[in-house]
């Protein structure tokens, strides 16, 4: 039979496996916090394929394009496999010696650590312990400064905590879903499925976004297409409509909130006509959205960078909180004002204390907390003053240790970031690839990634799950906590950093963080889909829904906060007539260090593009696909154009995943004073056609 057909032989590269010892190993995708399960197919210690895992509760066997292309990069030829000192291959021994030498004696002011959104909880915990015990500094941060620092500043006073309140599994219970500043279809495709399911069952979906994104196209019933940076005006208007029409939830307000009268007084002064002018959103649509949300049985807000990455980020978050407190849509499954932390350690690294103002478990940095951890860790003189934030560490620290973070691409104003990194006395970068940041490091340390090590992650809805080790890391690459531990040992702290396994570290985490106390490796191995914290004891099932009885504020009540609209830091002007907004696409992840090295993803989009309205393009005499020079006050880029009606006149968009076409060369580092969140979403640029000469 085989001879008769067209002579197609079976694919040779897979067919050398004559004795299959093939096993299917379950795991969770390493990209976003949709947290989708999948099987890796393993043979003789090598991953040879991946298959759907239909019994996993979050995604039920479904994956996005990134989830369908997870494992090949583990064996990519560019994986870092040996420690590098000034670009030369070295040994762990020599690297640790040099690092210890260089770190020793650096003052707590001059030293900083920037941690990761991708490391495990165990790895994050060890990193912050190193900062505090060994270097006596609270100068420790991670990438959440750039996404949800505004959430902590905004939701903290409102409800007592900046966490997702509902389980993602319950989102489809809502009959009105408000997607504020989140392109959920591209950035959380697994969770977008739930919104789509709800919509198919009659749920009304409102999207707040200046662009017509895939989210708008696939999911929106109402698209509030606002001018960039005018979110506060829209949200205040929605609040006013709800109050004017008497649609607030009086019972809830009375029982569970304070400061309603203050809000009422403030809102009475809002001029809706003015709002229409500022935002370019029609009052009809604002009204329709407000009414739909207020009248819903279960309203759910899902929000992300479109709300937070502004100089008024924390203000915007406060207004979203007002909306749910006004309507009572919080404290029940499928409701809440829910920050969408995108990184798989977005929640976890924060829980572990990789933050300048928090020790593990959200204990505020102060004398009392320092003493508490001195007792727990058996050490003395822990730092008790808040440390520097992300950009301050980059701009002012002389000696910096970075783990799994790529600020050359992810931080604003890249030219200035480069300058600061180059001016550092000593920079250590620990990563899996030679990222744009690692290229500037004095010492580069090769790390193990994802299923090359055992560890836990805490997903978007406070769900703690475990990644099991399935393959060995390449070459000399090691697990991040092992690396940090050995630097500590080299610096004389062996007795405080003496762990033999991730499990050892997790057991210590349980004693430090009450929310994790009831979670154990044993329980995690038995459970499918993870355990939600708070989980105070081993027989506690976990807490899918937060704030069911009271809030975490000192008085247990929800607090209304009145916030005025303020315009963005760098509006467009004659010299720079366009507003640039930055964001993401589904094909890439973050700074692209993983996705740009994955064939099926890279080939979809090898470089960035600038999305521009056809009328604007015509005035600039640029055709689709032609290159343009885009300049801001901080730098310039040569980039291909993508002409589209999905964006409004005067506004352009660039995805930030790329090295050569790096959007952050242009962006504005000015920040929200309440949380030091840079205004990634708005800066002013001018655009010129590339002169062919």
């Amino acid at each position: 039979m085989a001879k008769e057909t067209i002579g197609l032989q079976a694919d040779p590269h897979l067919k050398s496996q004559t004795q299959p010892e093939i096993k299917y190993r379950p795991t969770v995708c390493p990209y976003c916090t949709s947290g989708c399960g999948l099987y890796l197919v393993v043979q003789n210690g090598r991953i040879i394929g991946q298959e759907p895992m239909k019994s996993y509760p979050t995604n039920e066997g479904k994956l996005c394009i990134k989830g369908n292309n997870t494992y090949k990069l583990l064996s990519h030829p560019e994986r870092l496999t040996e420690p590098l000192i000034k670009g030369k291959k070295s040994s762990w021994e020599d690297a640790f010696k040099l690092i210890a030498e260089k770190f020793d004696g650096v003052s707590s002011e001059d030293f900083g650590i920037i941690g990761s959104g991708k490391t495990s909880n165990e790895e994050g915990y060890i990193l912050q312990k190193f900062a505090r015990v060994v270097m006596k500094t609270n100068n420790i941060e991670y990438c959440a400064r750039f996404c949800h620092s505004a959430t902590v500043a905004g939701l903290g006073p409102a409800v007592g905590g900046g966490v997702m309140q509902t389980s993602q599994l319950h989102i489809d219970q809502a009959d009105c879903i408000f997607l504020a500043g989140v392109n959920i279809q591209e950035n959380f495709p697994g969770i977008a499925r739930r919104v789509r399911r709800a919509k198919n069952n009659g749920t009304k979906v409102i999207v707040l976004d200046p662009r017509v994104t895939a989210t708008v196209k696939n999911l929106a019933d109402i698209h509030l297409q606002l001018r960039p940076g005018t979110d506060a005006a829209v949200l205040n208007a929605m609040i006013k409509v709800i109050m004017d029409e008497g649609l607030e939830n009086e019972q809830f307000i009375k029982a569970r909130t304070v400061d309603y009268e203050g809000l009422k007084a403030f809102v009475s002064n809002i001029d809706l006509e003015e709002v229409q002018k500022i935002t370019s959103v029609s009052l009809d649509e604002i009204r329709a959205s407000a009414v739909a949300f207020a009248k819903a049985t279960k309203g759910c807000i899902l929000y992300d960078e479109g709300i937070t990455q502004h100089i008024t980020g924390s203000d915007n978050v406060k207004l979203l909180a007002n909306l749910v407190l006004l309507t009572g849509h919080i404290g029940k499954p499928g409701t809440g004002v829910n920050p969408m932390r995108g990184q798989i350690s977005g929640e976890g690294s924060g829980d572990m204390g990789c933050v300048n103002v928090f020790y593990p478990g959200f204990r505020r940095v102060n004398k009392e907390t320092a003493e508490h951890f001195q007792r727990l860790w058996g050490v003395e003189n822990l730092p008790s003053k808040p440390g520097k934030t992300f950009m301050d560490i980059i701009n002012t620290c002389k000696s910096v240790y970075m783990v799994g973070v790529n600020p050359m691409i992810s931080a604003p104003d890249s030219n200035n970031v480069r300058k600061s990194l180059e001016e550092m006395d000593f920079l250590v970068v620990e990563d899996i690839f030679m990222t744009e940041t690692a290229e500037l490091a004095d010492v580069v340390l090769p790390a193990a990634n994802w299923v090359e090590r055992e560890g836990t992650h805490t997903g978007i809805d406070r769900r703690v799950y475990k990644i099991n080790k399935i393959v060995e890391p390449p070459g000399q690459a090691k697990q991040d906590w092992w690396i940090t531990m050995n630097i500590a040992k080299q610096m004389g702290f062996s007795d405080k950093f003496n762990y033999n396994s991730s499990k050892d570290i997790f057991e210590e985490i349980r004693t430090c963080i009450p929310q994790y106390a009831g979670i154990s490796y044993k329980r995690l191995d038995k459970t499918i889909g993870g355990i939600y914290w708070p989980c105070p004891s081993e027989d506690h099932p976990g807490t899918p829904t937060m704030f069911t009885e009271k809030f975490n504020t000192p008085d247990g009540k929800g607090h209304f906060q009145s916030v005025e609209y303020k315009p963005p830091a760098e509006p467009s002007d004659r010299e720079y007539p366009f507003i640039l907004t930055t964001g993401r696409v589904i094909f890439h992840y973050h700074t692209g260090s993983m996705t740009r090295r994955t064939d099926n993803l890279y080939s979809e989009m090898p470089e960035a593009f600038i999305q521009i309205h056809p009328e604007d393009a015509r005035e600039l005499k640029i055709s689709n696909g032609e290159k343009a020079i885009v300049k801001s006050r901080r730098g310039q880029l040569e980039i291909k154009t993508r002409i589209s009606l999905d964006i409004i006149r005067g506004v352009v968009f660039i995805p930030f995943h790329f090295g050569k076409t790096n959007a952050n060369i242009l962006t504005n580092p000015e920040f929200d004073p309440a949380c030091k969140m840079p205004e990634f979403k708005i800066c002013a640029v001018n655009i010129e056609k590339v002169d062919e000469k």
Partner: protein, 400 residues
């Protein structure tokens, strides 16, 4: 023994009969095939952490086969595609436990040289349909039962019977579930091949009415040879089924075929909304899941990965509707309604219905029933004499 004959078999190994849901014939045949080196690998589904997780296993140790005993209605790995991807059927022999959809897919793959049918023994199992695990887990949780205490499930007539730890039982009526969009996977509801006669052996329990045993049909020479060897070596004890039992088995089969045909009629008819399928496809987010799991998708250079503006344009999301449709047109003739595409569709598009619908059109046009007969050539790669003799410009169904 002769091809086409029917037997009632029961394993001669006590521990297998105890574990087995029926006569343990499938388990025994696999074990025997491995032990006697008739095959190198047995492919079957093992229970994972719980009853909802079925892990495809490539077994080389005969004893390990016993861990696969039972029919896991919630486990639907893409068996045919996994065999093609991970095993070398040109150099090694395998025995595969398969439902009709798996067997049909393997046959289609064999026609295009992707697997070597000579080295594959297909031990088919009767199938009333499979279910997606999570919706069932959700209903059970809502009705206050811990879904993970499920010990065993079965589909009997129109009932889904679930047995839990502690002797609890819960019964659902399938039509009630299916009206709500739950119950069996949609492609299963449309399946008109409840007895896998295209495999080498077909095993099941219909017709037995509770008597312990496995109803066996010898569908091919390969199947007959294996079964005969197993019986003559004392692995399986057999007896002849009664006329009544054979009649009942046929009735069960026909019942399911009738309901499948009715379901097809309902699923394929969209009279009011011409744009229904277009609006569904527009939700696509280019995950390539359907292409990755479809057993028939085998091209080394897939058209979906090309960069053709407005058709399958790179880096655009949502992609143009042609992205989802092109693949369907490529596999239309061969679609075996396995439902894998719909299982993994990230946008919850009912893509299997569309694929199945197209394949029915292709079947009529080319008089080609996919996945049932190795000797019938693919319509788009073989031109029979009758077709060459067709002088008109009309596409008429040509008897092949």
């Amino acid at each position: 023994m002769k091809t086409g004959e029917l037997y009632i078999g029961i394993s001669s190994e006590k521990q297998i009969v105890e574990k087995a849901e029926n006569g343990g014939v499938v388990t025994s045949l696999l074990k025997y095939a491995l032990k006697s080196k008739l095959v190198d690998t047995a492919v079957a589904v093992k229970k994972g952490k719980n009853r909802y997780e079925g892990i495809l296993s490539f077994i080389t140790e005969p004893e390990e086969v016993e861990e696969c005993t039972g029919s896991f209605h919630f486990a639907t790995p893409g068996i045919a595609k996994n065999v093609k991807k991970y095993l070398d059927t040109y150099n090694k022999k395998i025995a595969v436990v398969c439902k009709s959809c798996d067997a049909r897919a393997l046959i289609e793959l064999a026609k295009i040289g992707q697997v070597n049918i000579e080295n594959i023994i297909m031990i088919g199992v009767n199938c009333s349909g499979t279910l997606a695990p999570i919706p069932t887990i959700n209903i059970l949780t809502e009705s206050g039962i811990d879904p993970y205490t499920l010990i065993c499930e079965d589909i009997d007539e129109d009932k889904l019977i679930l047995e839990f730890d502690g002797d609890t039982q819960k019964i659902f009526r399938l039509n009630e579930l299916e009206e709500k969009g739950l119950g069996r996977r949609k492609n299963c509801q449309r399946c008109e091949y409840p007895i896998p006669q295209m495999a080498d052996i077909a095993c099941g329990k219909w017709g037995l009415n509770g008597e312990k045993g496995t109803f066996v049909e010898l569908c091919s020479t390969k199947g007959k040879v294996l079964f005969e060897k197993a019986v003559s070596n004392g692995i399986i004890e057999i007896k002849t089924p009664s006329k009544e039992q054979i009649k009942r088995r046929k009735q069960e089969e026909n019942k399911r075929i009738d309901s499948a045909k009715a379901r097809q009629k309902a699923d394929f008819a969209r009279p009011e909304d011409k744009f229904y399928w277009l609006s569904q496809i527009q939700a696509c987010i280019k995950c390539y899941g359907c292409r990755d799991v479809c057993p028939l998708c085998h091209c080394k250079r897939c058209v979906l990965e090309r960069d053709i503006p407005e058709t399958v344009e790179k880096g655009v999301i949502p992609p143009p509707p042609t992205f989802g449709m092109i693949r369907l047109f490529h596999v239309a003739c061969y679609c075996v309604n396995c439902g894998q595409c719909e299982d993994v569709c990230s946008a919850d598009i009912p893509i299997s219905a569309l694929a199945h619908y197209l394949s029915k059109q292709a079947t009529e046009l080319f008089d080609y029933e996919s996945g049932v007969n190795m000797d019938v050539r693919l319509p788009l790669s073989a031109v029979p004499e009758a077709e060459r003799a067709n002088k008109s410009t009309e596409l008429k169904a040509i008897k092949r």
